[in-house]
Amino acid sequence: MTDTSAGSTTTINPPATGVGNSVDRPDASAKVLGSFEFSNDLNHERMLWGATIRSPHPSARIVSINVAPALAIPGVAAVVTHHDVPGSPVYGLISHDQPVFASDVVRYQGEPVAAVAADHPDTCRRAMVAVEVVYEVTEPVVDLLTAATAKPVHPDGNVVRRVPIRFGDVDAVGDIVVEGTYEMGMQDQAFMGPESGMAVPAAGDGSIDLYVATQWLHEDRDQVADCLGLARDDVRIHLAGTGGAFGAREDVSFHVHACLLAQHTNRPVKMQYRRDESFLGHVHRHPAHMTYRHHATNDGRLVKVECDIVLDGGAYASSSFAVCGNAARFAAGPYKVPNAVVNASVVRTNNPPCGAMRGFGAVQVCFGHEAQMDKLAAALDMDPLEIRLLNALETGDRLITGQILDGVAPVRECIEAAAAFPLPPISGNDVFDQPGGAGRTADPLAVRRGVGFAVGFKNAAFAEGFVDDTHARCRLENGQVTLWCAAAEVGQGFVTIVRQIAVSTLGTDRVELMRASTADIGSAGSTSASRQTYMSGAAVLKACEEVAEQVRLAIAATHDVAPELVTIEGGRARTIDGRVDVIVADAIADVRFEAELRHMHRETYPLDEETGQGDCDVTWIFAAHRAVVDVDVELGLVKVVEVTTGQDVGVALNPLHVIGQIEGGISQGVGLAVMEEIITDVGLVRNPSFTDYLLPTMVDMPDVRITLIEQPEEGGPFGAKGVGETPSLSSTPAVAAAVRAATGLELTRVPIKPQDIALG
């Protein structure tokens, strides 16, 4: 039925798989069949297994390392330590402060000290025990509030960054003032597919290929190449099937270790973290301590927000610099705030390193500012919804950084949408509808219902002048579209929407997206900051449009019509006289059309170091959440019954998968509200397992009702904004507010534990 001959006049409609449709994931069939290759499914007949030897102490001097007993074990092929790192001994996302292997001191429990390659994972484990590391244990710095003045954890000092914001009249005083101190525990990304991949040394030339589950291939490549002392082109990073990320794969983990072992043995080396190691082997969400003072007029208008924020960055900087910037910039929430005094800092301790996680600094402060808005509403005897609507940000308002909010800002619409759903009925008697669930603890007489509300916002894409670019290439040849882009697919659905974009521009679903690789194209930037649809989606769109333009010109030439008489729209090319009306991709045979480009968003600027003022953001994303909970107030057990949301998405390119993102983000927000926390005890992680780090199960997940607020955003492909982080911002504070409403308790810390309620 498809006529691909040049100059065809056959009228064919493009397939209904373009943007706006809930198209199936292209990798879904392989994933349900079990044939999708994840990073730990990689195999090679000459492969060795690698494993990492880690510090059991959060703070210690290394007296000696003796690898000889491990090397003596049959089957052990190599043991490498800091002596074997040929290039930079340190790496890191923003500052290079983290050793590939600790040499003189260890600064957190789980810090890599050595790595081993052997013929079997069990041989690795024997070798790990056999490596003799003598430590002299030192007192760890673990308290975030005193860390800034404690003994230095690192030569770079204990304050990674301070961000002051001074906006408007810093001495302004409101008619009414409410204060509160809030804390957030350390959340883990807890992706399902542990860190894994394989390093394969190339024959002869010293270069190396690393297949790895990651969020940002080119950044990995640069860091790995520097540590290996290789030219960047001599390290090729290829995306391996990635089992979730949520921020935890933005930092390098085993990458350099695997490459070193591969180089030393001249064999492919596969590494995969076990779950306990994964908990120690990646960064977490920063724990936060926040003190707020909100000033308002008697009629509920915000006058000033004062806020002191301290984030615990753990032993190494990772992305703490940027997380702290976010915490400061979004500290006042999505409200009209004429005056603000914010002091945010991120400190270094001997706790586990913290870095990127979904929501990136904005999650912590959202818990604080939303608790404050409820407190303010209570003090003014206002409805929590009313006070939020009264102060809601709108396009054209000035943020506390002084920047004009010039993007789409449907804060009011989000709030109204979340509130518009009817409240759920009283729960039934089934044990799984009751707080306590399977434990059958609930007494209906002790169960109280609570409803809570929260609103959140953050930026999308990189801010503060960070270079934020992405590359895409589109090739069209005989009806087949091939796309290159190094954006890491981590589960979010980029692979789906780029095909939809190609369908909508070139009219065909014969689209192949090549595996992301540093060998084939420039950086796409990180799969983080809700930026890949907005950024790389836009790059792919532009590349496809350039190809369509080439086709348009070719049609004009082939049919001898003026180019302006050929139009391209919705994947179809037409001449004005109707002689030609074809799918763009099928218009011209036997010619290769190709376009490659680099896409950047508008320029952003650093924050002023004294005042925190500056046009530092590109675009903003908003959501509101309403949570309904049932609480057994005597036992402190919580059943989150329902979460409703209105979320600003720009335009939903794939509504079903936007819903999937939102539901997933809410589940992480619910987890943070009532169960998820990495518990440390003097720097030691007490619960590095799914036995004790609890994620919500299907039984714990509330019903979710969603309204997508669609207002096209300029700069996004087809008006789309990022959607990944927004659901994680205000879902946690909404649940916390609902638990407060049910219990009458202040509950200033999340996750809320049963004892906080029962003994509160």
Binding site: D122, R125, P435, G439, D443, E634, Q755, A758
Partner: protein
Amino acid sequence: MTVSMPSSVDETLRLLSDDPAATILAGGTDAMVEINYEHRRPASVVSLRRVNELATWSIDGGTVRLGATVPYVEIMNSELAAASPGLAQASRTVGSSQIRNTGTVGGNLATGSPAGDTIPVLAALDAIVEIASVRGIREVAVVDLIVGVKRTVLEPDELIVAIRFPVASGPQEFLKIGPRNAMVISVASCALVINQAERSVACALGSVSPAPLRCGDAEEFAAANIDWTSDGIRITDPRTLETFGSMVADAASPIDDHRSTAAYRKHGIAVMARRALTRATTS
């Protein structure tokens, strides 16, 4: 390393006699975690998969005899559930479907964790554990089997073959607190078994002591304050329920750990015990 797969109890006992250091593998839900995480590196494993006689149960007169490797799922979904509603409820709180499909009461006892979900119910039932070796069979009460955190009186060559306890003759309750609504290790649990025929009350606790814990004073108090009638049991004075809860909590000796605090555990025990007795005396 060796793996043996005997097909009878006798064969199993001979293997254990020859190699007392062998790891006994029943459902694997504890032992395999230890092997996967190299907390245990056995030189030999004796799998009970083919020892069918261990996976059977019977109800004879007023006594249930539960083979050691009957999985939790069968306790929940067979006549055993009516014969022992408390044990069925405890079984339902164990792990996930997968764990309940394979995990066994014999394994729960042999591991002897303070958080073992079925242990409080068995303790309240005065369950007797049949322990076999080539030297013969001995019987030990559940409360005497487990003597500390994951410490039992089992000799290395011994095998738990069955657990015996009376068929329910009155209400039974099992309540368990966990910070997640399914698939969670117990923060504290409470089993209540009321024997109407004998006019006795038994209460045992989980996760609040190193070894199984009965609450003798509270049990006697409850038995003395229950209005025992032929058509059911009642408690007329609501203060009795409150006092019972407090007395049960007094028996607990919980600790602070990463899962909870001692104070909360004690509080939770008082609430659960009160609710358990309330349910038992109002249904």
